[in-house]
Point group: D2
Chain length 484, copies 4
Amino acid sequence: MARWPLLWAQRWKAATWLGLSSRGGSASTAGPDMDDVLRRTVAAVPPYEMREKPALQEASSREFVQFYRGLGAAERPLFLTKLAADYGTDHGLVSELYGRVREVQSRDLGTLLQAEDRLRYSLTPRYKFLISHICRLEEGVKFIVDLRADILQFLQNKTADSPQLREMNGILKTLLSDWFSIGFLNLERITWQSSCDLLQKISEYEAVHPVRNWADIKRRVGPYRRCYVFTHNAMPREPLIVLHVALTDNISNNIQAIVRKDPSLETTEDVNKITTAIFYSISSSQRGLQGVELGTYLIKRVVKELQVEFPHMSQFSSLSPIPDFTKWLRGTLSFKIKEGKSNQIFTELEYKELQDIIEGPVLEKLQHLLSNNEWVKSDKLVRILETPLMRLCAWYLYGEKHRGGALDPVANFHLQNGAVIWRINWLADTSPRGLSSSFGIMANYRYFLEDANRNSVQYLRTRQIEASKQILSLVAQCQTISKL
Amino acid sequence: MARWPLLWAQRWKAATWLGLSSRGGSASTAGPDMDDVLRRTVAAVPPYEMREKPALQEASSREFVQFYRGLGAAERPLFLTKLAADYGTDHGLVSELYGRVREVQSRDLGTLLQAEDRLRYSLTPRYKFLISHICRLEEGVKFIVDLRADILQFLQNKTADSPQLREMNGILKTLLSDWFSIGFLNLERITWQSSCDLLQKISEYEAVHPVRNWADIKRRVGPYRRCYVFTHNAMPREPLIVLHVALTDNISNNIQAIVRKDPSLETTEDVNKITTAIFYSISSSQRGLQGVELGTYLIKRVVKELQVEFPHMSQFSSLSPIPDFTKWLRGTLSFKIKEGKSNQIFTELEYKELQDIIEGPVLEKLQHLLSNNEWVKSDKLVRILETPLMRLCAWYLYGEKHRGGALDPVANFHLQNGAVIWRINWLADTSPRGLSSSFGIMANYRYFLEDANRNSVQYLRTRQIEASKQILSLVAQCQTISKL
Amino acid sequence: MARWPLLWAQRWKAATWLGLSSRGGSASTAGPDMDDVLRRTVAAVPPYEMREKPALQEASSREFVQFYRGLGAAERPLFLTKLAADYGTDHGLVSELYGRVREVQSRDLGTLLQAEDRLRYSLTPRYKFLISHICRLEEGVKFIVDLRADILQFLQNKTADSPQLREMNGILKTLLSDWFSIGFLNLERITWQSSCDLLQKISEYEAVHPVRNWADIKRRVGPYRRCYVFTHNAMPREPLIVLHVALTDNISNNIQAIVRKDPSLETTEDVNKITTAIFYSISSSQRGLQGVELGTYLIKRVVKELQVEFPHMSQFSSLSPIPDFTKWLRGTLSFKIKEGKSNQIFTELEYKELQDIIEGPVLEKLQHLLSNNEWVKSDKLVRILETPLMRLCAWYLYGEKHRGGALDPVANFHLQNGAVIWRINWLADTSPRGLSSSFGIMANYRYFLEDANRNSVQYLRTRQIEASKQILSLVAQCQTISKL
Amino acid sequence: MARWPLLWAQRWKAATWLGLSSRGGSASTAGPDMDDVLRRTVAAVPPYEMREKPALQEASSREFVQFYRGLGAAERPLFLTKLAADYGTDHGLVSELYGRVREVQSRDLGTLLQAEDRLRYSLTPRYKFLISHICRLEEGVKFIVDLRADILQFLQNKTADSPQLREMNGILKTLLSDWFSIGFLNLERITWQSSCDLLQKISEYEAVHPVRNWADIKRRVGPYRRCYVFTHNAMPREPLIVLHVALTDNISNNIQAIVRKDPSLETTEDVNKITTAIFYSISSSQRGLQGVELGTYLIKRVVKELQVEFPHMSQFSSLSPIPDFTKWLRGTLSFKIKEGKSNQIFTELEYKELQDIIEGPVLEKLQHLLSNNEWVKSDKLVRILETPLMRLCAWYLYGEKHRGGALDPVANFHLQNGAVIWRINWLADTSPRGLSSSFGIMANYRYFLEDANRNSVQYLRTRQIEASKQILSLVAQCQTISKL
């Protein structure tokens, strides 16, 4: 054991804690100043013995932040790739330390645990210390969140892609998951008396049912509506995730009634008419927090808030979009056309009815018809298509899978939270967006509070989906007809 | 790579994520309910693939908390020992995963990094997941802080002591260091208009110069005084660490003048008279945060606040106790007596003067004299002792070492922060406490802002101490005379 | 009508609005600077036509305030007497304007109303404009409140007494009644989380049951207690009146149980045990607001607050002192002794029992006995005295009158508010203060919410007192026996 | 003196304090329920002796408020006319009490002052007691403000007009002036972080330079701008008056540069560039507070705020509209045409230049030209008209009078506050509104802080106007040429 300090001291000398020199040159072609900056600003890993000591890296952390902010769009991917490559985990040290673990395995437990702890420490990538220092700066946490947003974008559009950058993304995700853990979040209710900058941000972030103007947003925080956000102390005045709720007396089947209908805004709420909470929009507002679970916790907290405010509230449900149903159906149609199995989509009767109003090959024509939103103007088509589209949609939500879970990401989210696929609604969102993404169909995912925990666990473990009789019956019909 | 999921799935099945069964029996003699509770409440480690999924463990976490709170003083050590022993790291898995790392070392980098990440994940003790769940409960963070306070106490008074418990202490310390990182702390200034419960807590926590009554505390938040605390959102209404500052026109040499003298409390501050900030007390108030660095950051933040409020403030210094100087001197006297080297403590002249007023063997008699605080009533003794005690004290602060750094913990704290040992002051704290701990001597550690960072780094790396001429000269005298 | 402006313009010229000269010398003996200051600082009355124009008198108002604050205790009465005498109403102008009213009486209504409005304006004393200007200064309202406190004290201790000063007191009272009208007051609940300066003031103001220390005040804002204050925006951080409430399950009969008994302070309130609110202390904290009705409104507001917090609360009652019962009884005893009518105080049986334990002439001895609080230590005396003292006390509260209403000021206050004399309680306040003022007896004034308004009106109009059967029966006994 | 109480008691009995009967029938034709409601809800005047007692009129005041709110637009004027007529001052009582004043005039001063005080009290119209009760209700003050707004509208559009209603308007104005006295107002700075409902109201109230959308209002509270309001505690969330300020480096001569130009909104203010505050809009937002002076005090307070924030700020000026210059000029032109004195408007040279581009009779044609805003498109006309219009405008502001003061209301307001007519600016407001009201000319009224008080007094007393050399020179030219 006596050798540890020595070993560390050597590395320490070699590196220097203050990052006056880097741990090794980079072979990349980047301009010299990037390397210089990294060498100057990325702190060396403190020796194990001093891992808890305060390290005053304010100046160099600030330099890093300013340098990064000054970089152009083309330079950032390069810079982050270098950071990830040159300042990651020291694989040799990991190997060496694992050797120690084996060596002491047969000795006393204390020695083993200490060796393991050093191994654990050695697995911390060096850039993680830099990140910890940055989070101590004013607006430092926001910087890290935005940095991860950049990385996600680079990886997505392939402007940068290296195993180390992907690793850094994972490290950041874990770190942000810790920082934005539920115990450190504040729940805030947003009203028309909330501050303008918050309401403006909430309007801009609203991704599900876009806010067109200030009258729109005033409605969404007015009577019979609730709007909640999570905020974090280290990012003041920044909503992290926003949940919009409508207070009704039944499970809503139409979104326009919620976001557009103009009840006199001055209406006072009649508590006796409120039995149901409809979650009609949930939007993350920080791209850099992708994969950090916030929505589940926000829904749970809001349910508690609502139960305090409305002790007799008895129904909780979402009214949710089905973002890719249209896309999926088009794919399925193409496939069926190619395979020549048009009879596997519609019943004979349906097919006949369609033939009556569509000239030419039914599936092909239909494919074209459904490629824009004109069909909704024909009452006849609307009537004929309702049954088959609803049936196929039920199947899409219940039967189509991705990694064992529901393919539809919204369904997957609510099922993970313990909800039940409760109902799908025809002509529920007749906005262009709603028609384009799911032929206007929307889904209710219903939360039975006493069952939610059990459902969640079951879904996460066995991937078994809970659904209502309406859904199951539609699914059964679909299976009979469509052989999907 | 395809084998990973399988491997995890097996363990997963065996263990169950919901903690329905534990990972192995404990041989301890505890009642069966402890084991039962742990089995029920400590979540299984989620498979690597699901490590970011929300896990709804609220009920079982709450059960754990309530069970622990209900345990008696005798049962808690046992319970925590079991938790640490039975729900720690899976050493076999670590070994297995390291094997994989070696296996893939020669393959592509991506594969290696992923293997390392699994190894990293496998080094997370299972109880850490429980702790993460608890921190999501209301007052959960406070529970964890208090839990660590318990562990520290058990380890200290030996009511429990196992390698695993010591490991858990370390894991908790690291975790709390993350949670209470500076980016997540709020600086609050405390005044007489702050809330009563906060002021009461601050009075109770004050360890350095105890608050006797409400007039005392009113002074310490009144004119020419500042009081700052760090708080954390997850622990509302709980000061974590408290810093008291006096605003003066010179570097104070007496603590009673600060905490007792009664300037008319209604005095309005005259900004022109304020050139100096004296940090006269800094107290941690959460035992469970021991080792989590807060003091350094608090001082830095407060300096910034003061610079904004008083742009012309030019001197920053502590007025600090020297907790164990008396104890050290007694030990040194005993040693010299035993060794018969009394001439190594005093100069001949000093020795003679002492002989004149002390009958019998000087050192022995002196040892007795200094064992209570009566000597301070003799003007003669006070005069004679000043020079040798000041000299010895300077040496004690500058020359006595522990692990390479200053033995005195207060000196070590300020030197780490980049301060300079500036001055020691005779009769600076004539309270019984002050006399008992350091013969009434107090130290000023002065902060030269432009040098602090450099000093800090230098001290942390080379252990070299910066001190003023007064100190260095006293130290030199002491070295000549005392051969210490 | 055309003559008005002219008339005013002349006065205007003579006086000058800016107070550059006063409206006439004062014959008083005060130093010339007082006259000078008044001449400079008391604004002239603006002409009727310009009565709403902004007048910028900040500098001179500030001078007045500073001058007054600088005056010694002996000078202030003189100064205020001069202000009231020399800057009051212009009687000549009133007379002149009344003449106009008569002149135009037979003309059109508009002319008459305008003449009356000028008369109304002329009845405004000139110093009232000064006061209006002062209230615009920072802390100006507080200055006026304190100024009236001074006047009240001067009038009371006769250091100053003139008809004009008494008039000024009345003018100020009316003005303050307007300013501190209920629509402009804020109700605040005080808890242990309220600010220290507020709690300190509340402790100091508590006149009914003095607060001994911080543990005392912590109890009075802790569980099963409520403390409410009115504050006013123009006097921030100043409680105007304080109401202490105990939350119980019955109508309390003992004050020590409320203010001293130490239930574990950490006790959480059990809402189900709370059926009753006991108002056990109400204290004005601004002497200058004497006669400005605040208590009645505070009780009404607090009742509403409590009904919201505890919808099932069913009983509201005070537990009140009887400040002068002892004094009244002593007077009555003296009178009966002088008149030789000792048999009119006690029944024969009571008299005999007293004779048994008192040697010598009963009434005289008793008078002496009751002059200190020793009697309470004799169980026998306590037993014997209970019946007659309770009977006499009931009479004192119900039968003794001042200007038609109850002589006892506390009874008068609660009766005005619509309460009922509900119960008097033996040994309810055994503190020295309680024994000295009312032989330890305390009264419950109970509020039946549905009757309070009617009772209040009835009492204010007809002086008829509502009382419970207990009280009425005691009163009847007393009337039979004592011929009071 | 002894007769007073009796006299009052009789009236008291006759009337009854609780308003159970009214003081006399009304001859008006209104439905019986109005009379009934008034009889029930308007409290009787309390006897002089009980004038300070709490009167619990909550229920009847509330009834009055609800009844009034329920009245239609046609009924309200009638109802208020009845209230003013039937529940005003008791002229007979005034007469009687004045008789007493005469009677006691020769007696001691105390008696006289008391008689006067009763006279004063008798001059309080009975409805004033109702108003006092209403202001104690929640939102009661707002009700009274809105009631006065109604009265002002009725008087203006003649839907109601009686001497008593006009008297009531005056009484309310005085009362509201007391309530909204500066000592009771809160100054709030409005920013983009202020609450949405406040910002929406401020947008709607902006009368001077209308706010078109949310980007507009965001600019007006953004960098280099300040927006302040007064609020009153009894009317939460209601701005009473709004002042918009631009922070610049010179005295602005163009309003579009302030309200429309789009500097990047994110610009951080450079304090060193800010030397001047331009008050470019001040709008009252409560019609019911007409005549209650708020603007003067708001400007004074804001100047103080700005001096604290920008210690080196050296120039304070308005940039103000000239609402009726166009109207006045048209009138003047018509008159000159009628009188045939066209040579009194323009110099010969000017006239010639105009002739060159205008065919036909110059003045007549010009009158037509200026009746719309097309002239501004002709550079030539713009050039030719500048000199004569600026000259005439200077005269209009300086020379045209109303009741001795400036005819232009904006000029009158700023002159009252002590400002100087500093500069008029050509093409300063080229919006349709600006062209229509003043041919695009705007005025700067400049505040020299050290002179403002003296100027204000001088203007209020002697009506003498302070103006800059630019203005005086233009005025002199105008006098020479135009004989105005």
